[in-house]
Structures are given as C-alpha cells and as structure tokens.
Amino acid sequence: MAQTAAAGHADHGHDHHEDHEGLKVLGFWIFLVTDCILFGTLFATYMVLRTHYDGGPTGAELFEMPGVIAETFILLTSSFTSGLATLAMHQGKVKSLINWLIVTAVLGAAFIGLEVNEFINLAHEGATISRSAFLSAFFTLVGTHGLHVSIGLGWMVGLMFQLKRRGITAVTKRKVTTVSLYWHFLDVIWIFLLTVVYLMGVM
C-alpha cells in the first residue's frame, strides 16, 4: 500500500496490488462477520416465532423433506466445486477455473430453482408470508439466504467474463477468493437453516 511506496522503486506497482488485494480480502472477512450477525438476528426471530402458527399450517405439515435434502446435496456439491475452482486458480489453469465456476453456478441455479418451486407450492397451499408469524419468519429467513445465493450467482457469472478477458491476475485472483469465501459461508448458513428450520420443524 501507500506506506511501501517510499521503500522500493522498481517493483512498487506490483507491491501495491498485492497489498491492496490482501486488504480487500480482510475487508471481506469483516463483511462476512456482519452478515453472520444479520443471519443470527433472523435465526433469533425465527426461534421466537416458530410456534406462532395462528391456526395456520405448521412446519411439520408443510415441509417436503425430499426437496430440501436435494437442495442440501446440490448446495454442498457446489461448495465443493467452488473449492475445485480455487484449486485450479492456484495451479494457474484459467480454463478449468472457469469451467468449475460454471458447474458451481449451474448447481447454485438449480438450488434456487428448487427453492422457488418450494415457495410457489407453499403459496398455492395458502401458506404465504402474511398467513402467520411463523410463516413470516420462515419466508424471511430462507428467502434471505436464497437472495444471498442469487447475488452470489450473478457475481460469479460477471467474474467468468472478467476471467475470460483478463486471465488470472492479482485482482481476479482476489475476486475468485472472495466469491468462493462467500459461497462457503452461504453453505454453512444453509446447514444451520436445514437443522433449525427443516429438521427441527418436522420433528
């Protein structure tokens, strides 16, 4: 960063970037902390309201576990493939990196598709966000996760174009690192979601 400017002349440009990208990864970690708290708050509201059915349907009546388990496997696999993408990046293989990102994005899209499908089915059964406090909390918590995954998808697609055009540079490397961090983070959130919302809901 700026401090090193005075230090070396020949390679200062390089230094800046290395350092700058490192800074951004640190910032992203802190962002993930804030996102953790955001989800923590949503989990807390869900825990408070999870039995407030207001005479409406309960979790046990609504949740279709096969679909949820499929979603879980798809998302876990996508986390694994995003790891493979990072691996390819470290080996300097742009093509394989992009390919693994495509696989990850496709899996992510499948996850979102399944989730949207689940939500539509619920709405058709009359279980909408305005039916009861339980459903408000359910849709908000699961929907926020879904929204995060969708944003991650868009980000990944944009990144593929950048990789194609610029190859693996310090900047694109950092971007792949942060997006895969994000992806793993969402995976962890999903595990909690699966446990707290679905498994505890049907038990």
Binding site: A44, M47, V48, T51, H52
Partner: protein, 324 residues
C-alpha cells in the same frame, strides 16, 4: 483564565442545587419524592441512596477539576510544577479503578436487593389483595374490577391500606401505567398480562398517567386514582354496580376501543367477565407461556418469577413477561 474557573464553580453550584432539590423532596409538587405507599417509598429510598453514592464521586471530581484548572493554567508567572512527561502511576490508577468499582458494588447490592424485594408482592398475611384489571386503549384507560364486577374509564378507586394487584394489558399500542406516588410504572403490553402491585397507605387523590407514547392523543391519557377507607370503597363499588350506570357490553367495548380520548370518567355497572382474558388472547396471549392466562399468572406466583426468568428462556426475553 478566570472564566473557566467561573464555569466550574457554576457547575458545582448547579449540582449542589440539584442535590438539594432531590433531597428536600418536601415540596408536594415533586410527587415522585413524596411517596404515599410502600412501593414508592422503597423506590424513593433507593433514589436517595443512589444520589448520595454518586455525589461521593461527583463532588470531589468537580472540586478536583476546578483545582487543577486553576492551578495549572498556562500563565507566564505560574510557579506550580510542570512535568510534561509524567504520564503513569500504578498507585493512582489503582485508586481510580478501585473507587468506582466499590461505589458500583455498593449500589449494585442495594439494587439487587430491592429488585428482588419488589418482585414479590407486598402482601401482609391478613389482607386479601384487591384485583384490578387495566386495559390501555386509544387513548383512554379501562379499569375492570373482577370481584366487584364493575368497570370504570380514566378513574380508579382503591381501598387505602390494602395491596392492589393490577393486571395490565393493552388493546392498542403499548403504554405504561404510572401512579408516581404509589410506585413506579410498568408497561401495558398487547398479548400479555403484566403485573404490578401497589398500595396506598392513606386515603387521598393521586395523579395517574400513561407514560409510554401511544399515538396522537397520548397526552390526554391521564387518570385519577382515589384511595378511600375500605368501607367507603365498598360503598362506592356497590353504588356503581346498582346505580343508574349502563353496563359495558361487548359492542360497547368495541365502541370504547375506537381511537379517541375521554374527557370525564365513565362508570359501568357491569362488564363481560371474560373481557380481559379475551383481549389478552386476541392480541397473541396464547403464545405467551406465562402471560396468556392472567389467572394462572396472576396469583402470588409472581413472587416465583426467579424460576421463570432466570435466563432460562432460550431465545430472548419476549416470553418472559412475568410481573415484577
């Protein structure tokens, strides 16, 4: 610079004046400091203890400030020592970490003692508490007397010398029920039956008010509290029940609950007995483990609040609505 010295002196003076005001409390305008019942008395004592404990720190600090600013001012002829690099003293730092810890420790002990003391209803063995249900509406207070089977609006009469058990809820945005001379306030919350135990030692008229903002006409949510000897109270209740007053019906209640303020007290000869429970349940009372049914929650069980509130609830406090 003279002005700053001035400033500090001014502050000391103001603080002293404030303390005087606090401690005097004799003026009948300062109703919080003029308690007429055991709860308000405990609270008043605690207020005075906390003022004294704070003053033990505040006054010396202000004096020290005035002294330091005067003595070490930057004038050419100032002969007091100047040590620009003196910045550390284990002893001094220990002292001023210690002082607040001790003060807070003492005050904390008093606080905990009275927090638990007031959580238990102050009921003498030989008296049976009077139950009054309080419902805050937009923008008026409804009082229902389950034993006397009468209802009033913006007026509540209680027997003097008898503990009164207020069960409180709201059928509107939350409010707070406050009769300063009898004791501190507690919120009226939709879907919960909050508990508050108050007692007036002497007959008299006391000022009561809603304390938590609840919308447009909130400023008009005052009510009168009148304490009468037990016999007179009984007379009064009988008079209301058998007098010319109308009965409060369910429809009448719907009408009363509509937004608007009430100028003069209203009296009802009777009311639907299940009204209060219905209000609580309607607003989500069924989800409150303890607050849902006021009769379950209402009995002296309030004293057992330790059991229900000891951080035992796993998510947040919203389920822990046990009265104090």
């Amino acid at each position: 610079m003279g002005k700053t010295k001035w400033l500090s002196r001014l502050k000391v003076l103001l603080t002293a004046a404030m303390t005087m005001v606090l401690l005097s409390g004799c003026s009948d305008k300062f109703i919080v400091l003029d308690p007429k019942g055991p709860v308000a008395e405990t609270q008043q004592k605690l207020i005075i203890i906390s003022v004294i404990l704070c003053a033990i720190v505040v006054i010396p600090v202000l004096a020290l400030l005035a002294f330091i600013v005067y003595r070490y001012r930057d004038t050419p002829d100032n002969k007091s020592p100047y040590k620009p690099d003196w910045h550390d003293s284990k002893l001094l730092e220990t002292i001023w970490w210690g002082i607040p810890i001790i003060i807070i420790g003492i005050l904390g002990a008093y606080t905990v003692r009275d927090t638990y003391a007031l959580a238990k209803p102050k009921v003498a063995a030989d008296t049976k508490p009077l139950v009054i249900q309080v419902t805050s509406l937009d923008w008026k207070w409804l009082f229902t007397y389950p034993d006397q089977k009468i209802a009033t609006v913006n007026y509540v009469q209680i027997p003097a010398g008898v503990p009164v058990h207020f069960q409180m809820t709201s059928d509107a945005p939350m409010n707070s029920f406050w009769v300063p001379q009898l004791g501190g306030q507690a919120y009226t919350m939709p879907g919960m039956a909050m508990q508050l135990w108050l007692q007036a030692d002497q007959p008299g008229e006391y000022y009561g008010t809603g304390a938590n903002f609840s919308g447009k006409e909130f400023a008009h949510m005052r009510f009168q509290v009148e304490a009468k000897p037990q016999a007179e109270f009984n007379e009064w209740a009988k008079g209301i029940a058998s007098g010319p007053n109308a009965a409060l019906t369910k429809e009448g209640y719907q009408e009363l609950a509509k937004p608007g303020s009430v100028e003069k007290p209203v009296f009802y000869s009777s009311y639907p007995p299940e009204l209060f429970d219905e209000i609580v349940d309607k607003n989500g009372g069924s989800y409150m483990e303890h607050g849902g049914n006021p009769h379950k929650a209402g009995e002296p069980e309030a004293g057992k609040s330790e059991g229900t509130t000891g951080g035992g609830s796993n998510h947040d406090m919203s389920h822990m609505n046990m009265g104090k």
